[in-house]
Symmetry: C2
Subunit: 202 residues, 2 copies
DNA sequence: ATAGTAGTTGACTGTTTAGTCTAATTTGAT
DNA sequence: ATCAAATTAGACTAAACAGTCAACTACTAT
């Protein structure tokens, strides 16, 4: 009973966009409210603070991202193809972002995590959980690829951490340089890291 | 003539520490002044804004870091040893930082660059110049290692970008997770990326 | 020794910000 | 239709913040 509202969702969308396209520190509660078309009274009706909102927003956003990733990383897809699709998808995604914002924005989790990890404990923990889950997709694809004999990767966890560090590093470079083309090297880098046996087609 | 002062240096030291251990957005001019033991009037005597101070501070800090790197990457040192020394040095450095601050802080340039690149144009450009120079150390070591037949890396630029993305990615993970041990994998990751021919001692 | 210059001080202004509170409004359930 | 819960409006406070200024101080070169 009572009236219904999507103000909460609008606030979460707004905070994600503002943090990602700018930074956590530079987005004020007033900014968020204005972008969401919500008055401050309503903000504090739903959330106690910016950090609580950010945590909930990142959680929700990840929940919906997982659906896409579940599809990309479906065990029915050949393991190395999963990773290639993932990188292709990432490239296209960043291209769209740049077309829309005029900016390559990279990985939201890394951007926020790197900024707030020394200051916002709850947020940092949430980010870490998300990134751990993200790595699991990669790890499982690597393990399957190894089992299929497509690569030699007896320690899938190690390779997954390596590939992830590399890819997040690339995304960060792309953000800082505002250049999607940086991501073009992802596939070849993956081949190098995983030692893809079929990599050379010549 | 006139009176002399090291307030400018103190301000630059303070801003580096505050940004690195926290973030750009969360360090206020008042914070910087307090940490440096300098009054706001003096701040504005030396600098126009926080971003100008940050730019000068990062410039100066890089200038002194270059001296260390020139030694580590001296052409008189065998090329792969340069890289191993660099990673060892990075690990020890982050360990000291953690001992001192209770926190792994990762790479200052990436942290700042990632946070401000969409908002502070001059700063972003400065960061990019520094990171380009940093990459040159790695690239030249890789080129020399290739020439010496120690690795196969006909495109040293590509490998350097790859190794750098990986290493910066690791440092970012170390910062977010507040765990130096993440960096332990750097040497093995490097071997994988460069295809070190002497890697396996067994 | 002193004149001129480089640097310092702290009080001041106006603005932005987070956060609060109360009264009003909308809506679903009965 | 009406009640009660859910949501909104917006004005308000106090603190934090960036930036200014004119008077003051210490130094150094002559």
């Amino acid at each position: 009973m009572g009236r219904v509202s999507d103000a909460k969702e609008r606030l979460m969308d707004a905070v994600l966009e503002l943090i990602w396209s700018g930074s956590y520190g530079s987005t004020t509660i007033d900014d968020i409210c204005e972008k969401a078309g919500v008055k401050k009274g309503s903000f504090y009706y739903f959330f106690d603070s910016k950090s609580e909102l950010a945590a909930e927003a990142f959680e929700a956003s990840w929940k919906s991202k997982r659906i896409e990733l579940d599809s990309i990383f479906s065990p029915t897809v050949p393991p190395l193809e999963r990773l290639h699709k993932y990188f292709d998808f990432g490239y296209e995604f960043q291209r769209e972002i740049k077309a829309k914002h005029g900016r390559v924005l990279g990985c939201p989790q890394v951007t926020l995590g790197c900024e707030v990890c020394t200051q916002e404990d709850a947020l940092q923990k949430k980010i870490q959980v998300i990134m751990d889950q993200k790595r699991k997709y990669i790890e499982s694809a690597i393990r399957d690829a190894h089992a299929a004999g497509e690569i030699h990767a007896p320690d899938a966890g190690l390779k997954a951490r390596m590939l992830m560090a590399y890819y997040e590093g690339l995304l960060t470079q792309a953000r800082i340089q505002n250049d999607v083309e940086v991501l073009r090297e992802a596939a070849s880098g993956m081949s190098t890291i995983l030692g893809e046996k079929v990599a050379v087609t010549a």
